[in-house]
Symmetry: C2
Subunit: 479 residues, 2 copies
């Protein structure tokens, strides 16, 4: 079976193609007026995410308001063989939004309505442009919340596309577990609905889970039914410093293995703590640290916290600092969420290369230990932090802009991290996705599974117009 | 896009085809000896599940021992365009194992090894022929268990194929949430691995979830990595009778809505209770009844139980009967598991047509009320029971064998149940799958989504040799 997809439609276009793009832009401008732009700055902003990958601007950006408008734009692109790149907030880390072959960027940020909140069923229906934080602000009065919280100010549509997770996944799962159904515009402009509002179903293939994590390569999501969760009756949070990173990780492993239903258990190494102290004006002791949160009834939270405190103490935790007030907790988690930006701020004019391995919990200590040994010689700042309850952690290589030797060294160390994780039964990406940045790592990880993915991609998007060059390499034109 | 698949390969075969099957059987017999049989009784037993669907025997049954043997058998079938039907324990309810177009039944029951138990990561790797109960017996010393428990004595491979759930799904999820990875033999005999042992991954398309629930139509699963759960520190179970089914269902809805992390909450109506009393020699009051189970720490179990008892009392529950001993609990749940067989035993020489709708919890009371009104005129026993915490319930129509008018009437009432569930945002099947029995219901539910499923099926199995006629209708030969 073929590993790569055939060439992108646009590469066949030649001069004719350029004329066709011009025609398409004229048509879109006539239909969408100010909601269609070829402005250089807007296109440039839509051609990059938040990491080091070189930007690649689309030819035009359109801002639809409805599923039908998305369908109409896709039909026009299908007729002219034009690439389509769906766009949310532009916060992706693996080059998911770069218009590698030009084409039409469909910016979904104006499709940001909360369509329905079904509090009694603990679900809601939203458009893809809704921002994560806005959703939770809107939900507050219902006693419900949506737990998935990547570090960026991102759209829920983008989170569907990358199968995002975040700090709460250890308790509440990832987008995989929390999307109930989708409306999707397919490559030919047809519209389908997947899933529904029932909590489970055995009705045919699980299309919902197929589109979650497909990074805009199989269809464009235009509405989303999400599972919500009750805001816990009681919450407690704590920050715990350890004498060594090993002691912190061993504590995490034991907490998971004894089955504490912990809501959040996040690791930051000394470099990360130093960075957030500077960025968020905190005064945390500069040491390997766990950020913890417990959710449940008052009795259950107390019980969980006592169990974890006992385990941490056995591993020599120096201090167990509780945050009783909601404001303190909020400040703490905001600092944790800003860790990537705090890392970037360690150096002026820097860009980040963020790794994202995830391993079985029993291998986590060994994996982090070997990674830290590798990093000892690293010539740039490389804070390590992560969602260690899931076995997932990141090293953020903080590189100078325009320093190819630093990119090369970071990629070398990244490659060693991925090889290590795969050898331990893990994955090259826990939550950031493949994009353009991890295509070869995907082949190393999934082997012939990539050929099966390519068969599905070819079946649903035979002209390869949906976000071409992402997840899969595109074959070079034959000479 | 096409709704149905093109004709099954076998239908093109004609006389030539019969000769080819004979050649294939000769080859398989030479290779597998006693593990390959054309014995009439064995073939007959492999051509039916546990419900009313007419049986259809395969031409030959083979019992492979390894992934490589499955791959070799599939390659032979692919070369000769012969249908393949994977088989576990033959307990499916929607005609999933019927050899509608003849062919080779691959019986996986002898691939029943537990390959690895990784207690520290709470996962295990098993072959598909492992029986659910045997897995839990083997796990006991590890302090872990696998919670998914359909009513039948089935194989884990069969549970993967139908995306099974059971009584624990309200707390622990279904097969969708509890399968981490798979080894799959594809239609051309190639072997892929999906997923891994990491708790989460964003690496490409979610092939694991695509194969879970695909009913043997996309590939044959030859090993399975399962997520395991800790045996709870404390467990309590209770049986609660109610003055009306409405009162029971309203209690369930409130228990779910206030967020009690209940492990099991099962409804049986008076007809079901009467049936299990007779079948399992119990003396439960003949009334609408909830079977409950609580898992957690001692404090948490106590807290959960008190909350639920208070809610039940508000709804007029007559008695709250606790089962403190493990043997009592085991007897209780065994009786619940045997409910389908208890229903069949209500009438001599009976067969069952089992419905399987699932709706959002807020619509459950209304859905059950309208269903019971419909059943009032039903001319055959029709016990109602279900996994009501998920919004999922079954009516089992207990029909005389060879009574087409009863099948017709049961199908009519079933059709009304499905239409009602779909109108409420629900599904035609919570856990039994589509098979041959719900193919038209799937079209009603998924609409153009079925066309997308068919594109995937065509891409991965272009000759339609994998379990043809299941999930999708096969077009009739053109005249």
């Amino acid at each position: 079976m073929p590993r790569a997809l055939r060439r992108c439609a646009c590469c066949h276009m030649g001069m004719d193609g350029a004329a066709r793009i011009e025609d398409l832009v004229t048509t879109l401008q006539a239909q969408y007026g100010e909601r269609c732009t070829i402005n250089h700055d807007v296109r440039d902003r839509h051609g990059r995410g938040e990491s080091w990958h070189p930007s690649a601007a689309p030819d035009v950006v359109v801002f639809p308001h409805t599923t039908e408008e998305v369908s109409s734009i896709v039909s026009l692109c299908a007729a002219s063989g034009t690439p389509i790149i769906p766009f949310g907030a532009g916060t992706s880390l693996e080059g998911q939004v770069q218009a590698l072959h030009g084409g039409v960027c469909i910016d979904l940020s104006q499709m940001n309505a909360i369509v329905a909140v079904n509090a009694e069923d603990m679900d809601c229906v939203i458009q893809p442009g809704v921002m994560r934080a806005d959703l939770n602000a809107q939900l507050r009065d219902t006693g419900l919340f949506f737990p998935i919280d990547p570090g960026a100010e991102c759209t829920i549509g983008g989170m569907v596309a990358t199968r995002a997770s975040g700090t709460n996944a250890v308790r509440y799962g990832t987008m995989r577990e929390n999307v109930l159904g989708l409306t999707v515009v397919m490559a030919d402009g047809s519209i389908i609905k997947t899933g529904g509002r029932a909590r489970k179903s055995a009705a045919g293939y699980d299309l919902t889970r197929l589109f979650v994590g497909s990074e805009g390569t199989l269809g464009i999501v235009t509405d989303i039914t999400l599972r919500l969760h009750g805001i816990p009756e009681a919450t407690a949070a704590a920050v715990v410093a350890f004498p060594s990173i090993d002691a912190a990780v061993e504590t995490v492993i034991e907490v998971i293995q004894v089955g504490v239903p912990i809501a959040r258990i996040e690791l930051m190494d000394d470099v990360s703590i130093d960075a957030v102290n500077r960025y968020s004006a905190l005064t945390l002791p500069v040491a390997p640290t766990l950020f913890l949160e417990f959710h449940g009834s008052p009795a259950s939270v107390k019980e969980q916290a006592e169990t974890v405190e006992a385990l941490a103490t056995e591993h020599g935790s120096a201090s167990f600092s509780w945050s009783d007030k909601a404001e303190d907790r909020s400040e703490l988690w905001q600092a944790r969420h800003n860790a990537y930006y705090a890392g970037l701020a360690l150096k002026a004019d820097s860009i980040g290369l963020v790794t994202d391995v995830c391993v079985p919990i029993s291998r986590l200590a060994e994996c982090i230990r070997e990674t830290k040994t590798d990093l000892a010689q690293c010539p740039m700042p490389a804070p390590l932090l992560g969602h260690v309850g899931d076995g997932n952690f990141h090293v953020c290589f903080i590189m100078d802009k325009d320093a190819p030797d630093q990119v090369e060294e970071a990629e070398r160390l990244h490659g060693r991290m991925v090889a290590r994780a795969l050898a331990m039964g893990g994955t090259c990406t826990g939550e950031h996705g493949i994009g353009m940045g991890k295509r070869t790592h995907l082949v190393d990880e999934a082997g012939d599974g990539v050929a099966v993915m390519a068969l599905i991609k070819n079946a649903l998007d035979p002209a390869n117009i949906l976000n071409p060059g992402k997840i899969f390499e595109v074959d070079e034109p034959e000479s």
